[in-house]
Every structure is written in structure tokens, then in C-alpha cells.
Symmetry: C2
Subunit: 114 residues, 2 copies
């Protein structure tokens, strides 16, 4: 069957390559942006070279993805509802019971006919 067990480093490498190709960047452009040699970028995307924490951070910014995504493959549930950030600010500082009340209000809206 399929399902080779790739190491975390290999999975990270694949996501790095995918993110770069999605943006249409060349390995050379990434190398210049991060001040690396191009072969280093090649190796990063094939799992043949370690990736330092600060490099990972800069790559995530360059590719406009989260570090969490590059490491785990999952976005941290943040990009989906964009306006949710606004709601998060709105409930910031509220007590736990108040947040629950806000949630109940949301449920109420969901159940009520439009």
C-alpha cells in the first residue's frame, strides 16, 4: 500500500516547497530574500538540511502562512472567519460568564429565522 511514514522534517520540507510554488517564487528568489545560497533552499525543500527556528519564521512571513501550518500542516483555525478577530477583541476582557452569554446569544441568532 501507500502511506509511507515521512518524518516531520520531510513533511515540513514538502510544505515549504508547496508554499513557495504556490506563490510562484523561484528557489533563487527565496535564497536572496533569506540571504542563503540557492543549494541551501533546494536542500531545505528536500529534507536534506536542518531549518533553523528563525529561518522558519522568516519563511512563514515570506510565504504568508503561519509557522504552525508549516510545522503541522494545519492552520491554527485563525484564517477561516476573518471577522472573528474582531469578535475576539470584542469579548476580550469579558468575564467567563459573559463570554458564555455572548455565545448563547450567537446560538440564539443561529436558531432564529432570518
Amino acid at each position: 500500500m501507500s502511506a509511507e511514514k515521512r518524518t516531520p522534517r520531510q513533511e515540513l520540507a514538502e510544505r515549504l516547497r508547496g508554499a513557495r510554488e504556490y506563490l510562484g517564487l523561484s528557489q533563487d528568489e527565496v535564497a536572496v530574500a533569506l540571504q542563503l545560497s540557492r543549494p541551501s533552499v533546494t536542500l531545505m525543500e528536500s529534507g536534506g538540511r536542518k531549518i533553523e527556528a528563525t529561518e522558519l519564521d522568516r519563511l512563514a512571513r515570506l510565504y504568508r502562512v503561519s509557522v504552525e501550518y508549516l510545522l503541522s500542516g494545519r492552520e491554527p483555525e485563525d484564517t477561516e472567519p476573518k471577522q472573528f478577530a474582531f469578535l475576539a477583541r470584542a469579548v476580550k476582557g469579558l468575564s467567563e460568564s459573559d463570554v458564555q452569554e455572548v455565545a448563547r446569544f450567537a446560538e440564539f441568532l443561529k436558531k432564529s429565522p432570518k
Copy 2:
């Protein structure tokens, strides 16, 4: 004045030390957990050694913080209040205007006397 300009690596190192000490773990325990030598942990927490991406991931799990926090010092607005996940589910599927209404309701609660 104060405000020494620390490098990103140094800031990461300080947060790693802080997170470990907050949990009351010894450098040796961390070294065993990540299968590293103890001097390596010492160097990681003093900025004297690079930290690989996968190591950063494992450290974040061990310390129960997000990778984003270790890198930037800020939580990605997601892990902080745990009940946000519940609120996110509650507003999922609501129309944009309804989410705004929920947010206004939250603001109302914030402004109203307890």
C-alpha cells in the same frame, strides 16, 4: 535608557528559558525529553546554539505554548482564552451581519456595569 536590541535568536532563547522555568523543569529533564545533551539545552537558552524547526515544535509541545509565542512573544490570539473555540463554533454559519451583532452584544456587556 534601556531597550537593548536583542536579536530574534536571543529573544527566542529567553522565552525558552522562561517557559521551562515556569513549568519547573530542569535543563536535564528537557535534554532527556528531546534526546539532547544538557549543554545543548544550556546553549539553546543562551542563544549560543541554533534551534532546529522540529526541535522548536517539540519544545513548544513540552512547554505547552505555541510555536508562534516562542518565536514572536505573542500568542496567536487563539490559544489564550480556551473558551474562544466554543464561541467560534457558536458563530460558525452565522451571516456577517449576525456576527457583527454578536460583537456589538459583547461590547454592550463590556460597557454595562457588573
